[in-house]
């Protein structure tokens, strides 16, 4: 026969112990899921950046015939595309994205001076397609950055920071251009025709 008090203490201790194990497992799984969500969110942005990049040559081809003398604008957009294709880290891609948005804004602003181009059905479709992709990129950028902020905050909170240190987790980069890049061109006026 077991003494009642001893049994009660052992049982309560056992339940708390297994509860703590369960809590630690859920903490671990939660951190793993946060990290996985960030990777997935990043892939979803990357897909759109590539789609936009694929549309650029078609846009340039459609406009070439009409905007023959606007080589500077054409070159700007082609250079922005090349930079975007070479970028790998989130910050590099964010800077390339900002440059691309500026180049597209200038491109569409100049296209306003060519009514024949503007009335071209092909050009209108491409312009709409790029505009739709830009909206989606903006949404997914916001989603990605929210995911990163949640993760970066969590790995510094007690008690998650202890587990994060053991797992070797460190801060993730936001999809955000640097302060210098942010002082650049005002895109909204140029891009919203």
């Amino acid at each position: 026969m077991v003494e009642g008090t001893t049994l009660l203490i052992l049982l309560t201790g056992g339940v708390i112990f297994f509860g703590l194990i369960g809590y630690l497992v859920m903490m671990y799984n939660g951190l793993v899921r946060l990290r996985k969500d960030i990777n997935e969110a990043w892939s979803n942005i990357d897909v759109l950046l590539k789609q936009r990049s694929d549309e650029i040559p078609k846009l340039v081809d459609a406009a070439q015939e009409y905007m023959d003398y606007e080589q500077e604008v054409m070159n700007e957009i082609t250079q922005a595309r090349n930079k975007a294709q070479k970028a790998s880290s989130p910050q590099a891609k964010a800077e390339a994205d900002k440059q691309m948005r500026g180049a597209l804004g200038n491109f569409f602003a100049v296209a306003e001076d060519y009514p024949n181009l503007k009335s071209s059905e092909q050009f209108q479709q491409l312009q709409q397609r790029v505009s739709d992709i830009e909206d989606q990129i903006a949404d997914r950028r916001e989603f990605y950055n929210q995911s990163v902020n949640t993760y970066n905050t969590r790995i510094h909170q007690i008690p998650y920071n202890l587990m994060a240190n053991m797992m070797g987790y460190s801060d993730k980069e936001l999809f955000e251009a640097t302060e210098e890049e942010k002082q650049d061109v005002n895109i909204s006026n140029q891009f919203n025709n």
């Binding site: 026969m1 077991v2 003494e3 009642g4 049994l7 009660l8 049982l11 309560t12 339940v15 708390i16 509860g19 369960g22 809590y23 497992v25 859920m26 799984n29 939660g30 899921r33 946060l34 969500d37 997935e40 969110a41 979803n44 759109l48 909206d135 989606q136 990129i137 949404d139 997914r140 989603f143 929210q146 995911s147 949640t150 969590r154």
Partner: protein, 280 residues
């Protein structure tokens, strides 16, 4: 993870009960078995609460850690969206009050009293299963509510009739009609002997919706596609008319209360079982 949790709970219950049955001996007496079963229920209840508490904690984690997506750029996979409810295939009218809605649940309960045991028993219930729409201003998606756990915590309509009281016209018409219902029995009399309670929960067009589920693209016959939120591979498929803040507050304290309840009841239940079996 859910399977592991349920498996561990089942194992704990089996081990707990088996250990007392195998190591102890039930004394004689009329109430011995009843008392032992009561203590077993306390023990099982404690394990259930503990399990449930972890389930609520997991839900809280999912809701807290998943940012809301805009429907126009929603990626396929696990998503959280918020928006206004809308019609997809058809609007409904709730069966009792004839209110226009896109989704409803109803139940009819009767108050049954048998000596010391009195309770409300559900004698008829039903709900719709047609998909509904959610629109967040950037786009719209279809929500397969038939697969979802739908929680509408506040009843939109409830009316209680005393036994012998003649029902109002809309309830009389409901009793006569009672069609377009997916599940439930109809065993009601026009004048009831016992107290009856009629309740409706519904989602109207324009009501706020919180949806957590799995987004996929489905194709129409003409080749165009539209987003659908269903159960899929999401860790949960949940729809409610409450806000995310409400869910986080509620699940935030319920998981702690359940875990605490489990920590108290599991040892208490086991001690009672052990005591009944003469092990203490």
């Amino acid at each position: 993870m859910s399977n592991l949790r349920y498996g561990a709970s089942a194992a704990l219950i089996i081990i707990g009960i088996a250990s007392t049955v195998l190591l102890g001996e039930l004394p004689g007496g009329e109430d011995a078995v009843e008392n032992f079963l009561f203590s077993t229920l306390v023990f099982i209840g404690g394990v259930g609460l503990f399990n449930w508490g972890f389930g609520r904690f997991r839900r809280l984690q999912l809701v807290r850690d998943t940012p809301t997506q805009k429907i126009r750029s929603m990626s396929m996979g696990t998503v959280e969206v918020k928006g206004d409810a809308g019609v997809v295939s058809q609007k409904f009218q709730t069966p009792i009050t004839n209110t226009d809605c896109v989704y409803y649940e109803y139940k009819v309960e009767e108050y049954q009293s048998d000596g010391d045991d009195s309770h409300w028993e559900t004698i008829d219930n039903g709900k719709t299963s047609e998909p509904i729409g959610v629109d967040d201003g950037t786009g719209a998606a279809v929500v397969e509510v038939s697969e979802a756990e739908i929680e509408l915590p506040d009843e939109d309509y409830q009316e209680k009739l005393d036994g012998g009281e003649e029902p109002p016209q809309h309830i009389q018409e409901f009793i006569d009609r009672n069609e377009n219902v997916e599940e439930g029995n109809n065993e009601m009399l026009t004048i009831f002997d016992n107290d009856r309670r009629f309740t409706e929960y519904y989602i109207q067009p324009g009501d706020h919706l919180y949806v957590f589920g799995y987004a996929e693209e489905e194709r129409r016959e003409d080749g165009t596609s539209y987003p659908v939120i269903k159960e899929g591979q999401a860790p949960m498929f949940y729809v409610t008319d409450k806000t995310e803040e409400y869910l986080r507050n509620r699940w935030g304290w319920t998981y702690k209360a359940m875990l605490l309840g489990g920590i108290i009841l599991i040892p208490l239940g086991y001690m009672l079982m052990a005591g009944m079996m003469g092990m203490l």
